[in-house]
């Protein structure tokens, strides 16, 4: 797999003429999301998809009061924010590449704006939802 196919013109983000120093920001968010998704997401899927519906550890584990109290804690809210937001940027970064890889190279600026725009929008929504949880 040559880098040529994977990241054609990476230094020129989405065809938009931006300073070359922009890419590290997006790449850092992508990498942070990669780590967060890799380590934390699978177990959350197991919890909401298996442990919770099967009541494996008892009904009281997922009682409203218990989950609400834990999730409303400021530090937990911050952690949940990171858990949700960083993977959105991994998605933005990779989805942008997928579309370019399957032949939408020519509309790269639109794709970049759409993908990163989605991630930024998701970040704002997540912040608002977590802020209102109390």
């Amino acid at each position: 797999m040559g880098g040529r196919v994977r990241y054609p013109g990476l230094d020129n983000l989405g065809g938009i003429r931006m300073s070359k120093s922009n890419e590290p920001i997006w790449w850092s968010l992508f990498a942070a999301g990669g780590v967060v998704s890799a380590i934390f997401i699978p177990i959350f899927i197991v919890i909401t998809g298996l442990i919770l519906p099967s009541s494996l550890t008892g009904e009281e584990a997922f009682a409203f009061e218990r989950i609400h109290e834990a999730a409303a804690h400021p530090i937990v809210r911050l952690l949940v924010f990171c858990l949700i937001v960083f993977p959105l940027f991994t998605f933005a970064h990779r989805f942008r590449s997928i579309l370019a890889d399957v032949g939408l190279m020519k509309i790269r600026p639109v794709i970049s704006v759409f993908c990163y725009g989605f991630a930024i929008f998701g970040t704002i929504i997540t912040a608002v939802v977590l802020w209102n949880l109390s």
């Binding site: 797999m1 040529r4 196919v5 054609p8 013109g9 990669g34 780590v35 998704s37 890799a38 380590i39 934390f40 997401i41 699978p42 177990i43 959350f44 899927i45 197991v46 919890i47 909401t48 998809g49 298996l50 442990i51 919770l52 519906p53 494996l56 550890t57 008892g58 009281e60 584990a61 997922f62 409203f64 218990r66 989950i67 609400h68 834990a70 999730a71 949940v80 858990l83 949700i84 937001v85 993977p87 959105l88 991994t90 998605f91 970064h93 990779r94 989805f95 590449s97 997928i98 890889d101 399957v102 032949g103 998701g122 929504i125 997540t126 939802v129 977590l130 209102n132 949880l133 109390s134």
Partner: protein
């Protein structure tokens, strides 16, 4: 000056299994992001009070929800495995002149993954 653009068919990733699995790896991000959207929805329902929350809990018990979770889980784990295998390629550690072998770095990641998962499952699911 016109830059050279190499032409390749849009289905290039179907021509070789390694290209195909590369594409699968990239697609995992869609499933993980979808799950993150669900997490936001979960928090939203939690903020709406007990009735909304328990309605969601009931929905999570439906076969459709469980089937979706299984699909997303497979892709999420595929992301984890490929990510940990990539880590030593990005993170090159040395002790003196000796480069730490990649299997140790990957291994440490896999180990941390299992430990963190067990701890989280315990804290969240066990009263």
């Amino acid at each position: 000056m016109k830059s050279y653009v190499r032409r390749y068919p849009n289905t290039w990733w179907l021509n070789k299994s390694s290209y195909f699995f590369f594409m699968v790896r990239e697609f995992t991000s869609i499933f993980v992001a979808g799950y993150c959207v669900f997490l936001v929805y979960f928090i939203y329902k939690l903020s709406q009070g007990p009735d909304a929350y328990y309605a969601l809990i009931e929905a999570l018990k439906s076969p459709l929800s469980i089937a979706l979770h299984v699909i997303v889980f497979i892709f999420a784990v595929y992301h984890s495995i490929t990510w940990f295998k990539l880590t030593p390629k990005i993170m090159i550690l040395r002790i003196g002149e000796e480069q730490i072998p990649s299997f140790l770095i990957s291994g440490a990641n896999f180990f941390a993954w299992v430990v963190v998962s067990a701890i989280l499952a315990w804290i969240i699911s066990v009263v």
